[in-house]
Each structure stands twice: as structure tokens, then as C-alpha cells.
């Protein structure tokens, strides 16, 4: 099972990629083989003073089996946490729908980031 997570403005695949990682509305976790997906609401991270990004990483890591995260921009601490959790990061994908971002990833057109872009 290969799952990836995409920061999303809502639960559907036609929603737009949420450009923010830490304070994204939520994350769509999708199985690349079956295209089955679930939505993780990120409301609790939003309420945080500091550490929203880190909390989002914890939530995704706990969900299990996530190989990569697709999003707009990621801050340095969340980036560090994603690397520690050995999750690949695809940045600058805001402007696409979740479905489009997933397609791009499946086609191998998403480059894994080596540095946070925010």
C-alpha cells in the first residue's frame, strides 16, 4: 500500500490543494493503487499558537503508511519533522486540485524537496 497525503481545502478530490501545510484545513490521505481516500481534519493544529506544522506531521505520521506529502509551502520546523518521519515532501503544488496533484505525483513529475520553501 502506498499512501500519500495532500494538504487540502476540503474532503473531496476536486478541492484545491491548500497552500499552507501546518494550518491547512485538512489532509486527504489517498491510496495510490486503489484511489481510496480519507480526510483528516486539521482543525486542532489551527488553534495552536506555535507548532501547528509539527502537530500536522504528528497526525499524518500516526495515520500510518504515508510515503509523501504534497502541499504548497512548508516551514522549516515542519520540514525537519517530515524528514525525521521519513516522509517525502512535494512543495509548490498550490493552484492545483488534489486530483491534479496526485496525478502529477503518479506521473513522477513531483520533485522531492531538499529544503523548506518558507
Amino acid at each position: 500500500m502506498t499512501r500519500i497525503a495532500i494538504s487540502s481545502e476540503g474532503p473531496g478530490l476536486e478541492e484545491r490543494v491548500d497552500p499552507r501545510f501546518g494550518r491547512a484545513a485538512g489532509f486527504i490521505l489517498i491510496d495510490l493503487d486503489t484511489m481510496e481516500h480519507e480526510y483528516l481534519d486539521n482543525g486542532s493544529s489551527q488553534a495552536r499558537g506555535q507548532g501547528a506544522g509539527i502537530q500536522a506531521v504528528e497526525m499524518i505520521a500516526l495515520a500510518g503508511g504515508v510515503k509523501a506529502v504534497l502541499t504548497g509551502f512548508v516551514g522549516p520546523k515542519a520540514f525537519q519533522a517530515l524528514q525525521a518521519a521519513r516522509i517525502e515532501i512535494g512543495q509548490n503544488l498550490d493552484g492545483l486540485t488534489v486530483r491534479e496533484a496526485v496525478e502529477r505525483y503518479k506521473q513522477g513529475r513531483v520533485k522531492a524537496a531538499s529544503q523548506p520553501n518558507r
Binding site: 499558537g49 525537519q80 518521519a85
Partner: protein, 293 residues
């Protein structure tokens, strides 16, 4: 006695007042700069610096071999300074507030106390004036822990040297750092200017510092420029106006040359002597209460 010189707004003349007061104060006195983000007092009092100490705050360090990833620490930490990501326990020392909770809650003794650098505390002397300042490391986000450390250092400055009064130059503003600086003093002097910005921030300052229970007094700097609103407000709020420093280009020039205004202009020495006496009067009841509590 301990006096805090504060203001809602920056640039009203806190440091000008603190420096001049320290120079004309009768009796042994120590000047302490608690504006750890942008300390300026030393530029005017020009102390000879003796030692400088590092100020550090405790943060956790992880022994990966003992960690069983039970997540107790990550679940307790309110600041996300420690985070468990399944196979690895990650710490973000710069986010840590030093509460010790993770160390206390770990069932495996997998966390040990380490530290991060907050900044430095410097001790100095300018003739008979004792001087202390804190300087926040550039990039360090939190000033209150360093402010607390400087205040503790002022207690142990010269053990056995005898008691002395302390004048604290507080950071500007009315949020956490300023409140931390002003807490525990016998009187707080609010320096303001009679302009809309000064007036607005004076109101905020009164709202912030009144709950601390120390007597408040106002010094109006650049008086003559602007309007009367701060005076009306002080009267209505029953705040004594302890001094009015006139708006005078010579004062601005003396300050810009790093001079202590009470030394540079003879009439200013007289003004600050009067201010010192009035501040001492304001502080005496609180000091008595503190001594005999």
C-alpha cells in the same frame, strides 16, 4: 527600593529618564537594563564592564536507546517542542519554555536536562553606580526568561556589599516582557509624550500595569508639543504627574550625543532631583509593605 521605568510606547524617553535618575539618585543605587531585545542604557551610563555570564534555559535532550515512544512527553508539551513521529523523538529546543514537564512525565528516564542559550548578562560599574544588563541573543524569540534571569542576578550582584536601590529600565510595550520587568517593583514610572500615540499607549500601559498593584506615576516628556489629553487622563485616573520634561531641541541633541540629560543641562539636574524625591515618596508605602510582609 525597586523602581521600574516603563512606557506603553517606545521612544518616549524611558532610557533618558532612567539614566538621569540613576545619576542624581541619593544613596547607593543600581541601574538595570531589562530591555533585553534592544538594551540602550549602557550607551549613556557608559559603565566599565566586568564579567559577562551566559543565561541559559533548560531544554530536554533525548536518549534514543531508552525511549519506548510512549508519546507521553509529546502529548504533554503545549509548545510542540518535543514531538514523536513513530520511530524518532524530535526536539525543537527553540520552542521550549523550560517547564520541565516532559522530563517529569517520561516513565523511562529517556530525557535529560540540556540547555539553550538565551543571551548574556553583563555586570558593570560607572563610578559608584552599579550596572547590570541583559542582551538577548539575536534569533532568540523569548525575552521573559532572560528578563527573569537578569532580575535574579540583580539580587546577587555584590553579595555582602550592602543593600541598594534599583532602577529598572523596562522594555517598551505592555505585553509579557514589559509585565515581567515591572512585576515585583515598589513603584512604576510611566513615561509618556503628550501626543495621540503617546496618550493611546499610556492608556494601554495603565491597563497592563495597574493589576500588578504597584503605585503608578507619570512623567510627561516633550511637554509643550502636542495636546492636553494625557494630563486630563492622568487627573481623571488619579495618577500623579511626577515631572514634565519640556520639549527642547537641546535635550534631543544632548541625548543624540549619548549624554545624560541631567548632567548636560543644569536645569535638568534640578528637575530630575525633584523627580527622584517624588518617586521615592510614591514607592515608600509599597516598600514598607514588602519589608514587613
Amino acid at each position: 527600593m525597586r523602581i521600574a521605568i516603563a512606557s506603553g510606547k517606545g521612544g518616549t524617553g524611558k532610557t533618558l529618564v532612567a539614566a538621569s535618575l540613576a545619576k542624581v539618585w541619593d544613596g547607593p543605587v543600581m541601574a538595570v537594563d531589562l530591555d533585553v531585545e534592544e538594551p540602550n542604557l549602557h550607551l549613556f551610563l557608559k559603565p566599565e564592564f566586568g564579567r559577562c555570564e551566559e543565561a541559559r534555559i533548560e531544554v530536554p535532550a533525548v536518549d534514543e536507546d531508552r525511549c519506548t515512544h510512549c508519546r507521553a512527553c509529546a502529548e504533554l508539551c503545549q509548545f510542540k517542542a518535543i514531538s514523536d513521529l513513530g520511530r524518532v523523538l524530535l526536539t525543537f529546543p527553540e520552542m521550549c519554555h523550560g517547564c520541565g514537564g516532559c522530563l517529569a512525565v517520561c516513565p523511562e528516564k529517556a530525557l535529560m536536562p540540556s540547555s539553550r542559550l538565551l543571551g548574556e548578562i553583563c555586570f558593570g560599574q560607572a563610578q559608584d553606580l552599579r550596572f547590570l544588563m541583559g542582551r538577548l541573543r539575536v534569533g532568540e524569540a523569548m525575552s521573559p526568561p532572560l528578563i527573569q534571569a537578569v532580575k535574579r542576578a540583580s539580587d546577587g550582584f555584590l553579595p555582602g556589599a550592602g543593600p541598594c536601590d534599583i532602577i529598572f529600565d523596562a522594555p517598551p510595550g505592555v505585553s509579557c516582557p514589559a509585565v515581567n520587568a515591572v512585576m515585583g517593583c515598589d513603584a512604576t514610572v510611566l513615561v509618556t509624550e503628550p501626543t495621540p500615540f503617546g496618550f493611546h499607549d499610556l492608556k494601554l500601559a495603565v491597563e497592563a500595569f495597574r493589576p500588578l498593584g504597584t503605585p503608578l506615576g507619570v512623567v510627561v516628556n516633550k511637554a509643550g508639543l502636542g495636546d492636553q489629553d494625557v494630563f486630563t487622563f492622568a487627573a481623571v485616573e488619579d495618577l500623579p504627574v511626577l515631572a514634565e520634561i519640556p520639549y527642547d531641541r537641546r535635550i534631543a541633541e544632548a541625548y543624540s550625543k549619548g549624554k545624560i540629560v541631567a548632567e548636560a543641562l543644569p536645569e535638568m539636574r534640578y528637575l530630575f532631583r525633584g523627580l527622584a524625591v517624588r518617586i521615592q515618596g510614591l514607592a515608600r508605602p509599597a516598600l514598607k509593605e514588602r519589608r514587613y510582609a
